[in-house]
Amino acid sequence: MSGLMQRATPDRQPAIRASALVRRFGDNDAVAGVDLEVQAGEIYGFLGPNGAGKSTMVRMLTTLLTPTSGTAQVAGHDVATDADRVRLRIGVALQEAALDGKQTGRELLDLQGRLYGLSRTERLRRVKELLELVSIGDAIDRRINTYSGGMKRRLDLAAALVHQPEVLFLDEPTTGLDPTSRAAVWAEVRYLNEHLGITIFLTTQYLEEADALADRVGIIALGKLVAEGTPTDLKRAIGSDVIVAKVTAGQAAGVVAVVERLAEVDRVEIAGDEVVMSVDRGAAAISPVAVALAEAGVTVEGLTLRTPTLDDVFLHITGGRLQEDAA
């Protein structure tokens, strides 16, 4: 998004800065030394598979979890030594909506406002504004345990915004949502960022989400930040196109042996029953690949040419796929 270049001047203090951040559970390094900076006004996508350490990172940056070592500043304050100042400036929607079913939506938002020290007038005004933003309608006066999953998510977001935070953390905001609700969340995130200027740190397992929303993406695997950049730069780094050969079980190695000798193929990787070739100019490379495979007598079920995705970036760096079902 264009906001990035205009807002992030180098002398400006970053909205989020983590240095050598570590969180250990027993002998499991859930976050194993992460350095990152998010500029004010950015949408930063934190992309990683299940168990990569995304939620642990969010919980440390939002003062819920003390880092084992390393430091982090959010909105200019240290999360460990100045937690209350951080709390006043951040909004958080955790992975699971964090609500109290026995209160009504309005009671919950009002209680949030009180705990953030807002006056009665401020609370009334914010509840009204938030109702417009997250469209809960009349349900706001019903007990929360009568809400649908999507309504709970929206109320949870509203609760995160009561005090007009500068930095918003969203931990997997669209996991488990249907495509329509997902699109609505994306639109909301863009609105908050573009119109209200909120810096957004968003975790996701979905590469399309990181691709569509984030100004910059950090890829986390096994607690380590393994790549970082704009989605475009990350994808460009692995070549301008990929050719994917779908093979039957056990055939992948044969295909690799053939195609890795070709000058047109920069790099070959195996992901399950697929052989992924990074190439510079796909159109020019696909026929040499097909011919070489035919000459070697190796049969493939299919050969596809496409542009790289963040999942290909993830495969290249970690040797695994982000999602089991992703192509």
Partner: protein
Amino acid sequence: MSTVTHGERVHPRAAGFFTDWRTVSLRALRLTWRDPEAFGPALAIPLFFFVVNIGALQKFVEGSGSFPPGFDYKAFQLPVAVIFAVTGVSRAGSLVIDIQDGYLDRLLLTPVRRGTLLLGLMTADFVLIVCLVLPVLTLGLILGIHVATGIVGIVMFVLFAGVWGLAFTGFPYAIALRTGNPTAVNNAFLLFFPFAFLTTAYLPEQAMTGWLATAVKFNPTTYLLSGMRSMLQTGWEWGEIGKGLLAIAGVGALSFSMAFAALRGRVNRS
């Protein structure tokens, strides 16, 4: 940061200890009110036993000859019914739900003074406990118990029970915060069992011998009960009342330090 908003800026700040205490207490009271199944049985069961015990034992105990003439077994049993009604009453069950639903995290993300998260629940507990004492006491008065210390004594009696119930809440809260497990919290009342039975709940101290007598001597409930009974039966016996208060203070110091330590443990997850 130059944040553009669609409304005016609001000014978030730490609301401060007393405001937070009030906020958390009001929520807890509102939810207590919405949750009558949480205290209905707490009231019905002791009332039931009060009536049954009197019906079954009054004649027997009063006629046994080991007590001064004029001994009123109803007045002897009333504190037991009150103590059974209030001991173990707490919002620890709803605290576990807050932990499981992640709502405690949502609260911890605010600058709320951490201690008020427990104090607010305990405040609601105290109010509920006092409300539970009143019907039991009323039933006792209807059954003809004469309170030796008069109106002031009745107020003291209610406060005594209230402070005792409050002092005991720390245990279920400690369990809730340490385990986050509803079953563990539901079983917290088992903690009270030895205290409830190895004491003078049914028979006066003079009637007990051997190891039971020793257990009774070290059981704080014994002193609590004799303090409360003295107010009903004999008048202002400051020695008895003082010992009762000390017993409450001892139990309260233990349970509160466990509960607040458990809260600290859950809050700074280091």
